[in-house]
């Protein structure tokens, strides 16, 4: 199944107004319905290396797997669609690659990256994430956050130490509790969600959500949903207009129509005819 007629994807990435280089990395594969966003961290250029490795390893490995197995097939071990396991295993593979590079090369010591990855199939998507890069959704005019950050701030909100309102002004927004490439192993959060035609998904690095209110992000998607490329550029511009203190990256995905997996012999024939 080719998803490039089903999903419209637009992206934009920018170093921002303060940083001299961009440590974010984005990748999208419209044909396979795959998008990946990573926000690297680490001294000098190690951040770029970590985020670049994450997006490259995950996209190429998943592309290879998709040639052999369909993401909606049911996995015999987990009794769930293969996609979840696929993402989890490739995230672990990327983790190992980054961790080993960081261990073996002193200039990369301590590098790591956040991650959001979405794989679309069968009117669903599987989302894997680590750290404070986020996935938002605009559905029926309602804009909401899908992923929950793995950050100190989120843990403080969860345990009731501070309110969401106080969190906006907190000073330690930058501390993540999970990331790719920091430890020999990592447990990514992997979840499956149902998608609907008309949905717009927004993947972003913290350079966007720290600088632009959720309300303004939602308003932009609603107003400029007709032109995704422009919407992505507008979001980055708003972050930069508000100070652009960090690298800003945005990937937008719009679901154009339903895309159920072909089932049974007839379904396969129909899928083939399409």
């Amino acid at each position: 199944m080719n998803y490039s007629q089903i999903l419209e994807i637009a992206s934009c990435t920018d170093p921002g107004m303060v940083r001299s280089h961009n440590e974010d990395s984005i990748a999208s594969d419209p044909a396979n319905g795959l998008v990946v966003l990573a926000d690297g961290m680490g001294g000098y250029n190690a951040g770029e290396v970590a985020s670049g490795m994450a997006t490259t390893v995950i996209t190429t490995e998943i592309q290879q797997l998709l040639g052999k197995v369909q993401p909606y097939q049911i996995d015999e071990e987990t009794k769930a669609p293969v996609a979840g396991r696929m993402i989890r295993e490739q995230v672990l593979k990327a983790n190992t690659s980054i961790y080993q590079a960081a261990q073996s090369q002193p200039q990369y010591a301590g590098m790591g990256t956040t991650l959001v990855v979405c794989l679309f199939y069968d009117d669903k998507m599987t989302v894997g994430h680590l750290g404070d890069s986020r996935l938002y959704m605009l559905r029926d005019g309602k804009f909401s956050q899908v992923t929950r950050d793995h950050s100190l701030l989120q843990e403080q909100i969860d345990s009731g130490i501070i309110t969401a309102d106080q969190a906006k002004h907190a000073q330690h927004k930058n501390l993540v509790t999970k990331a790719l490439g920091i430890d020999p192993t990592v447990e990514p959060e992997v979840r499956e969600y149902a998608t609907r035609p008309g949905d717009i998904y927004l993947l972003c690095s913290d350079g966007l959500c720290d600088m632009v209110d959720d309300e303004d992000m939602g308003m932009t998607l609603q107003a400029l949903g007709g032109n995704l490329k422009l919407a992505a550029q507008q979001l980055v511009q708003m972050a930069n207009d508000n100070g652009g203190k960090d690298n800003v990256s945005v990937i937008l995905v719009r679901v154009l129509r339903e895309y159920p997996a072909p089932r049974g012999v007839m379904g396969k024939v129909f899928a083939w005819l399409k």
Binding site: D39, T114, H169, A170, K173, A223, G226
Partner: protein, 270 residues
């Protein structure tokens, strides 16, 4: 970020940002700042930059290093200090305005808080608060607080994962959001169509105008002023009779705009 300006006989040769922790100066090629002159030693001097402070150290060079005319071995660099190596001069410039911003930028870099640090903080909290059956949750909360405060305290040291013995202060600092600079408020007045005469204030960051499916444009409010951008439709909106391009078009006071056949005037209210 501080920088060095390399010059000889009053001629500026190069500007070097001190982006690395160690910036080496010498005649040999592996130096960060290579000065190919026999009066300069192979490894002549090094500038160590830690956060906003830079130190110059002479690495036992044959001809020595002068700072502001005095021979020095080690020197804490101040704004406008002049380092001399033979005929070459390096002026040290610390952009005062950029300094706090740079510190803030460092602080906002995403960093990982490792579970080991959390655990250590939790143990610390437990030790402080004494044991107890329900201590676990309290300890975890205290850990979150302690680490948060430690992170704030360590804001300039780039090592927030270290659970320093920070006092349990409020984890939230005062709002640090700078007030938005006052921008003149723009508005449009419709000149044709059913709503002619109606006025619309452009107070939101973006306002879309037009008919979906036919022609839509967006007016964006930015620190630099207002801009109009084409969103969808085969025809582009016009400004003073000229169709706009693909990039945003800056609007001036009393510009005449036409979107989807409706004429309107843009103006500043204040």
């Amino acid at each position: 970020m501080a920088k060095l300006i390399l010059s000889m006989d009053g001629l500026v040769l190069k500007e070097i940002p001190l982006s690395k922790e160690r910036t080496t100066i010498g005649r040999k090629a592996h130096n960060d700042i290579q000065i190919d002159n026999l009066a300069v030693s192979g490894e002549h001097a090094v500038i160590v930059t830690i956060l906003n402070d830079s130190f110059m150290e002479d690495l036992g060079s044959t001809n020595g290093t002068l700072v502001n005319g005095n021979p020095v071995k080690k020197h804490f660099l101040q704004n406008n200090d002049v380092i001399e190596l033979g005929k070459y001069k390096l002026k040290f410039i610390q952009e005062a305005g950029a300094q706090p911003a740079a510190a803030a930028a460092d602080f906002e870099k995403t960093m990982v808080l490792r579970p080991s640090a959390m655990k250590a903080a939790a143990e610390q909290a437990r030790a402080m608060g004494g044991g107890g059956a329900q201590a676990a949750q309290a300890a975890r909360q205290a850990a979150l607080q302690a680490v948060g405060t430690a992170a704030q305290a360590a804001g300039t040291s780039e090592k927030p994962a270290a659970p320093a013995a920070a006092p349990a202060a409020a984890p939230v600092a005062a709002p640090a959001v700078p007030p938005k600079p006052a921008q003149p408020l723009g508005a449009i007045q419709l000149l044709s169509g059913g709503n002619a005469g109606k006025e619309l204030e452009l107070s939101k960051p973006l306002t879309t105008l037009g008919k979906p499916g036919v022609q839509v444009a967006v007016l964006t409010r930015r620190p630099q002023g207002y801009f109009i951008t084409h969103v969808e439709g085969t025809h582009r909106p016009t400004v003073n009779g000229q169709a706009i391009g693909t990039s945003p078009h800056a609007l001036k006071d009393h510009d005449l705009v036409e979107i989807a056949g409706i004429k309107m005037e843009f103006f500043f209210k204040s």
